[in-house]
Amino acid sequence: MDSPIESAARVYPYGVNHSPEMIADLSRRAYEYRRQVLRMVYNRKTGHIGGAFSAAEYLTALYFHQLRLDPANPGWEDRDRLIFSKGHACAMLYTVLAHRGYFPVEELMTFRGFNSRLQGHPEPQKTPGIEVPAGPLGHGVAIGAGMALAARMAGSRRKIYVVLGDGEINSGVIWEGMMVAAKFQLDNLKVILDYNGVQQTGPTTRVMPTEPIVDKWASFNWHVMEIHGHNMAEVLNALDGADEIHGRPVVIIARTTKGKGVSFMENNSYWHGSPPTDEQFAAADYELKKGVEQWRI
């Protein structure tokens, strides 16, 4: 099995200038990270592919450009925080963290194994770079609000990013947290809502409709941005633009596709939490390789 990922992936310094080369490189790596996730879930015969694939572009943009952090010093007080609230998709987070230098890339294949540091859902005590546990859904916004309050009290410029799933926002505590963040005008809090439209047992439109999603967040007094979540340029621009909003928390609604990059996995709730067979693995990896190649310049 070939492993196309370089172990020390390039980090693009924070700034608004996103060159075509940078966009292509990050887009290509998002596909490489999908291949890595596919291998991890295939290897262990357990894990969540669909939601991990929808998260590839924005997690790549965050960790290799946007977030101010130091993998050699995970506890750095003024680091930006990322709360990965849709914890089931953590195979992608682990992959990005490994390539950012938090732990060896080779360790990724221990995912969900016995005695592994890479638990089935994130655990901060075991995995460097993880801020809080996740898995039971709905915690991210309220915890992020607490972290944002603390950053403000400390006079720190650090920012708090929260990644939510769209199924996750069925949970009531999300909306409690939204009200808290708006009350305290936490403009250092940025939520990325992975709006892939599919949850465990089917499409969100059937399980629990969430539209009009822009109006909902806006009516809670958040600043709302809406983007194509697999378009790296749009992701990078939105993350930059979110820094220019003052006096209100920001939500970036990232329109994404569950299982993005593999035709038979896309928009199919079966791939929320099912591992691929040998044939499915080969077919999926073939498609993802094509995804990588389309971004080679």
Binding site: E77, E123, P124, Q125, E131, V132, P133, G135, P136, G138, H139, A142, I143, G144, A145, G146, M147, A148, L149, A150, A151, M153, A154, I160, G172, V173, E176, G177, M179, V180, K183, F184
Partner: protein
């Protein structure tokens, strides 16, 4: 030992006011303390902290899950976060947040559970907290502290704040007698022998310590010498003193303002069953909901009268 107990008890003091004052004092001594409320600060008296330190006080509205989660965010950023609401809500509505983030996530949040036991007596069983200790005690990493008088609140709260990891501080609402002299020096995790005796041991926690003292005094008049040990820390359980007293006195009664399932009585029964089996009887609420009414009357009616404690001591001695 005897000089730990006032004779007679001091004038009654309102426990929630004692908590408000202790919280204010803590705020003065520790700048890293932040206080959160689910909009009941004038009930639990955390408003005293809010008035003095408005920049370190956050009212998140009537939203207990968010109360705990926002506290997690502050604690993960280096603060000692003290979340305040009614006791039953921590152990019911917000318990998933408590389990996942305080316990599994090992976060330095303190839960101040107001109006515990039957102390919100007139609001009735919807507001009583009679299963909170059992629920929270079952969670790994959680510690549970129950002060028994106003001085205990003042002396234990700074220790709760200094403890590494989550703590549930269980608080009575009402006016209770001042039990202790200034010589009372509780240490979190350690039981305290308040009264000596060899015939049986009463392990008591919370405001029922005062009733247990009365029971021991009345038993002495009929020649029964019960030992009284205060267990202000229900978890981690001081197994050493529990086993020692069980072996030395040969019979045990537990006393708590809680269901007899899973609280102090459960903890001590579990421990003694494995380490020093002796006759034991649990005094508390017998697996039922109470009702609306005056506090003292409810304690009597629902199994926590002085006479019930006395009878329990006689029973365990007869079973030796």
């Amino acid at each position: 030992m005897a000089d730990l107990i006032r004779k007679p008890f001091g004038e009654p003091v309102v426990m929630r006011k004692a908590y408000g004052e202790a919280l204010l004092a803590l705020g003065k001594s520790r700048k890293d303390v932040v206080v959160l409320s689910a909009d009941v600060s004038n009930s639990d008296f955390s408003y005293m902290f809010e008035t003095a330190f408005p920049d370190r006080f956050f009212n998140v509205g009537i939203a207990e899950p968010a109360l705990v989660d926002v506290a997690v965010g502050l604690a993960k950023s280096g603060h000692v976060a003290i979340a305040n609401t009614f006791a039953f809500l921590f152990a019911t509505r917000a318990v998933e947040m408590v389990r996942t983030h305080l316990c599994y996530g090992d976060t330095n949040v303190k839960l101040a559970g107001a109006y515990a036991g039957l102390s919100d007596s007139f609001d009735g069983p919807t507001h009583h907290a009679i299963t909170d200790v059992a629920i929270l005690r079952s969670l790994p990493r959680m510690s549970i502290v129950v002060p028994s008088d106003p001085l205990a609140v003042a002396k234990l709260l700074p220790q709760v704040a200094a403890w590494k990891g989550p703590v549930y501080f269980r608080l009575c609402r009402n006016e209770v007698p001042q039990i202790y002299t200034d010589a009372y020096e509780p240490v979190m995790g350690k039981g305290i022998t308040l009264m000596d005796g060899d015939d049986a041991t009463i392990f008591a926690t919370g405001v029922l310590v005062s009733r247990s003292i009365q029971a021991v005094e009345q038993l002495a008049q009929e020649g029964i010498h019960a030992r009284l040990v205060e267990m202000h820390t229900v978890k981690p359980l001081d197994g050493e003193i529990v086993a020692k007293c069980a072996k030395e006195t040969g019979a045990v009664v537990t006393v708590e303002e809680h269901t007899i399932i899973g609280g102090l009585g459960g903890a001590i029964s579990e421990y003694l069953g494995e380490h020093a089996p002796v006759p034991i009887q649990r005094v508390g609420i017998n697996d039922r909901f109470a009702e609306t009414g005056p506090y003292a009357d409810l304690l009597d009616k629902y199994g926590m009268s002085v006479e019930t404690i006395i009878t329990a001591v006689r029973n365990v001695i007869s079973r030796k």
